[in-house]
């Protein structure tokens, strides 16, 4: 049960990363590998501030802002210096590796003693339950775990709703149009370059927020924790699209959150059954590869409409 709850919590936290990837990959059609660096940046900034005793909420927000700044840099490299978007992401990700080591001062910062948002949740849970364990459907569950899960669910839903609302504002619709048809939105007076910079900042802000929360939940920040995370996010987005379709933005956002949680659960189960953890990234990459290629492959076997126009 504890394992299940742990998987759910991490799935929910990483759904913020998946939402960030949804913005870069689906709204702007730019797979943005800055993600791998900015999740670690969010974790590093939050961790180092927490060790210094800064308020956890402030530390988390600072981590998210750090990620947003990194995303903006990628956006500037791409739009102002005309560097291919993939390469711009690679450059920033590489630079962030050093930045993160500088921020942390070493390659790993443990948070066992620090007060974090997770410890807030745990205290809240034990206070509400009046004890260490509660029973859900007859199962004994740590009150602390249950409270953290509940908070994670609440926070993720709020973040998803906020993203949905944002993309229905004047600025948000202009950003969606920037990904959809830049020529059109430029002719309607929007600054396409600025929108791309803002979009990548938003995307990486979400990613770094996930990093800051993940560090607090797992109790450490680590320079290596970002490796492969963009692919993880892509997998979640793709699973989400299979679950809810892509007809509306709201469904896509809900799907992405569900996709992240489901993916984490599947991974937890596979690991439980003896999957070698070293193979995890290989399998994730293969999964995304299959998801990208299979639809086109299957189409070839479908009967075609006889006349096309």
């Amino acid at each position: 049960m504890t394992l299940l709850i742990g998987a759910l919590i991490i799935g929910l936290i990483l759904s913020l990363l998946a939402l960030g990837v949804l913005v870069s990959f689906r709204i702007f059609s730019m797979p943005d590998i800055t993600t791998d660096g900015s999740i670690t940046l969010g974790a590093s900034i939050a961790a180092i501030l927490l060790v210094k005793g800064v308020n956890p909420i402030f530390a988390t927000a600072a981590g998210a802002l750090g990620g947003a700044a990194a995303g903006a840099v990628t956006g500037i490299l791409h739009t102002k210096f005309k560097i291919n978007s993939l390469l711009a992401g690679i450059l920033v990700m590489t630079a962030l590796y050093s930045v993160n080591l500088h921020v942390m001062g070493r390659s790993n910062v443990p948070l066992m003693q620090a007060t974090t948002v997770a410890s807030y949740g745990e205290k809240l849970g034990e206070w509400l339950a009046g004890g260490k364990t509660i029973h859900i459907f007859g199962w004994p569950v740590g009150a602390a775990d249950a409270a953290v899960l509940f908070l994670a669910l609440l926070f993720t839903s709020a973040a998803g709703a906020a993203m949905f609302a944002f993309f229905r504002t004047q600025l948000g619709t202009a950003m969606r149009a920037t990904g959809d048809n830049p020529q059109m939105i430029r002719a309607l007076g929007a600054n396409v370059e600025l929108n791309i910079i803002l979009g990548l900042a938003l995307s990486n802000g979400f990613v770094a927020l996930a990093g800051a929360l993940l560090a607090q939940y797992q109790g450490f920040a680590d320079a290596q924790m970002g490796i492969g995370m963009v692919v993880w996010g892509l997998a979640s987005v793709i699973i989400g699209e299979a679950l809810t379709g892509t007809r509306s933005l709201g469904l896509t956002i809900v799907g992405t959150i569900m996709g992240s949680v489901l993916f984490r659960l599947l991974v937890a189960i596979a690991l439980r059954w003896g999957l070698n953890p070293n193979d995890l990234k290989l399998i994730t990459a293969l999964f995304v590869f299959a998801a990208l290629v299979l639809p086109g492959f299957l189409d070839r076997f479908k009967p075609r409409p006889t006349s096309a126009t």
Binding site: T173, D180, L188
Partner: protein
């Protein structure tokens, strides 16, 4: 009013692909004037419209529009003054977004975009009424993705979007060339209606002699990056398609003459 003076634009200068697309264009267009732009393929019509819209900066010359010197304005800033419809029906709309959202974007042309809701009730009512006048049955489908519509429907909507806020200048670049004849007629009629009703200053590129004689109050004919003929006033009113064809033939003869002269020089000297 639009005033161009001494506009020049060379693409890929100093390379084998050098193209002198505009070679000194001077042109003044009075407010409310509806100008048809004619010319053979490659004569610089699209380049002229793109130069005005700011798709690139011109090499020489100045562009004044509605009392602003816009020569150095970036494209998105000029969009405050300019409405555009492109040749390709896919160019003017955001395909995955709904009809209503596309119009919401158009309704902020030239204004700051903030955190207010894009789809305001103020927009929806006039939008539904205006779209109903198209008689395309689209007023009940405002939530549908605009990409699901036909090319003709999309061009009609793009035209309404471009003119939703009255532009100082409307640029139409062969905006019916990609449509079937029936849709093309509809879109042309709609364009003429909107232009007359709002007295829009308009530059419209077309290949159709019929459109050129029946629409607008002035024709300019481009050739090799220059304005070769400028027909206006009573002369424009009297003009018949045959007269225009004669002028095209004249251009073509001159072209042939140029080519044969070049060939002769080649033979003589190389």
């Amino acid at each position: 009013m639009l005033a161009l003076s001494g506009i020049r634009k060379t693409f890929n200068p100093g390379t084998v692909n050098e193209v002198r697309a505009l070679q000194g264009v001077d042109l003044t267009i009075e407010p409310g004037s509806f100008v048809i732009v004619l010319g053979m393929n490659g004569s610089g019509k699209s380049t002229l419209l793109n130069a005005v819209a700011g798709s690139f900066y011109v090499d020489e010359g100045s562009i004044r529009l509605a009392n602003h010197d816009v020569t150095k304005w970036p494209e998105h800033k000029r969009a405050k003054l300019i409405g555009r419809v492109f040749q390709n029906p896919f160019s003017g709309t955001a395909p995955t977004m709904s009809i209503a959202e596309n119009f919401a974007l158009a309704s902020r042309r030239g204004h700051a975009r903030g955190l207010g809701w894009a789809l305001s009730p103020h927009l929806m009512k006039p939008l539904r009424e205006r779209i109903a006048t198209l008689k395309m049955g689209l007023e009940g489908r405002l939530d549908n993705a605009i990409g699901s519509l036909s090319g003709g429907q999309r061009q009609a909507l793009t035209l309404l979007m471009a003119t939703w806020l009255k532009p100082e200048l409307l640029l139409l670049d062969e905006h019916t060339a990609a449509l079937d004849p029936k849709s093309a007629d509809q879109v042309i009629q709609l364009s003429d209606e909107v232009i007359q009703r709002d007295k829009l200053t308009t530059l419209m590129v077309t290949h159709s002699m019929q459109q050129a004689v029946s629409l607008g109050d002035r024709i300019i004919m481009m050739h090799r990056g220059r304005v070769l003929h400028d027909i206006r006033g009573a002369e424009k009113k009297r003009l018949r398609p045959e007269d225009l064809l004669d002028r095209f033939d004249e251009v073509r003869r001159r072209e042939l003459l140029d080519e044969s002269a070049a060939a002769m020089l080649n033979e003589l000297y190389i």
